[in-house]
């Protein structure tokens, strides 16, 4: 088996025609490969996010991880860029959709693409993955513990992130949701409401809430990491990607 991989920084044209930084990882050979847009968590375009990109590349997918904070702090360390973005209120939804759309177009334009693209995001990226799925033509969405897919933040909420209830009817593809039963954002009640609304709209979906896990249980470099739940979650993601963006 050829397991050689190519990974490194690229540049794509994102929302508003802006050139933004992104990280690409993918098999060095192969044909008719699916694509994954990976949306980083609120702490930014960090080492762990790039590790996750390489993980999906090792599974046989082209992966693009856009640096959503490229504009706020070009060239800065990921944590410094995240601090700037946070102080300015986070990433506007319209810009997010444009950046993810550009990443998806880049993936579909690769010579060995099969034309199928899924999006996956963690934390704030989970909500943004659902947002992208409601506004772009995609083949799959994976929401890992995204807060405010359901629910409206208080009026003085400092970060741009409103509920997506009124957009779920536009979801273009199947959705996989992975949550921690001990999380408060999103809460188990909000996950149940997401399930209800997706069922009401007739959208193909499967949601899993893990006992013994809270927020960010995939993050292997943080105390919130829960290996048992993360291993099972990765297995569910692998199965979902095979069904939605595999070469079948």
């Amino acid at each position: 088996m050829d397991d050689a991989m190519t990974a490194g920084t690229i540049s794509i044209t994102g929302a508003g025609g802006d050139r933004i930084e992104a990280y690409y990882a993918g098999p060095s050979s192969g044909d008719r490969l699916g694509g994954v847009v990976l949306i980083h968590h609120m702490p930014g375009y960090d080492r762990w996010s790039k590790e996750v990109a390489r993980r999906f590349a090792a599974d046989g997918y082209h992966v693009v991880l856009p640096n959503l904070y490229s504009r706020e702090a070009p060239g800065a360390d990921p944590d410094d860029a995240a601090a700037v973005a946070r102080a300015r209120g986070g990433v506007p939804d319209e810009r997010l959709v444009g950046d993810v759309g550009a990443a998806a177009a880049h993936l579909r334009g690769l010579p060995s693409s099969n034309g199928k693209v899924a999006v996956i995001g963690h934390c704030s990226g989970g909500r943004q993955a659902v947002l992208a799925g409601c506004n772009l033509d995609l083949q799959g969405v994976v929401d890992c513990y995204g807060a405010y897919v359901i629910g409206t933040p208080a009026a003085d909420f400092p970060v741009r992130a409103g509920g997506l209830e009124d957009q779920l009817g536009n979801l273009s593809c199947p959705l996989l949701g992975l949550f921690g039963a001990e999380d408060s954002y999103p809460s188990p009640e909000q996950v149940a409401e997401l399930d209800r609304l997706l069922t009401e709209h007739g959208k193909e979906h499967e949601l899993h809430s893990y006992d013994g896990a809270g927020h960010a249980f995939f993050c292997a470099d943080r105390p919130s990491y829960r290996p048992k739940q993360a291993v099972d979650g990765y297995a569910k993601i692998a199965d979902f990607f095979t069904r939605t963006i595999g070469d079948s």
Partner: protein, 90 residues
């Protein structure tokens, strides 16, 4: 959980970061996931000025130590004659 909570304050002073001393104009304060501290959540403070993003001066403190710091600051200020606390800044 990600709290997203973020408080802002305008400040006047200086701080020493990776490029040396820099003027500071803004503080961002939030209780959320840390980058480095091995705790699920910490009280995080970013002190910034007009410099580049990398000139940020950042701390991540447990809730207990953040409260201890606030108390220490208040004690320090409380022991100073009031007229010394008034400017002007030079």
């Amino acid at each position: 959980m990600c709290t997203y909570n973020t408080e802002h304050a305008r400040i006047t002073g200086s701080g020493k970061g990776r490029t040396g001393w820099v003027p500071l104009t803004d503080a961002t304060v939030y209780f959320d996931h840390p980058v480095h501290a091995q705790a699920e959540h910490t009280l995080n403070i970013d002190l910034t000025g007009t410099g580049a993003a990398g000139d940020r001066i950042a701390v991540e403190l447990t809730a207990e130590s953040a409260r201890a710091l606030v108390a220490a600051i208040e004690r320090a200020l409380g022991k100073v004659p009031a007229d010394l606390l008034e400017g002007p800044w030079r």
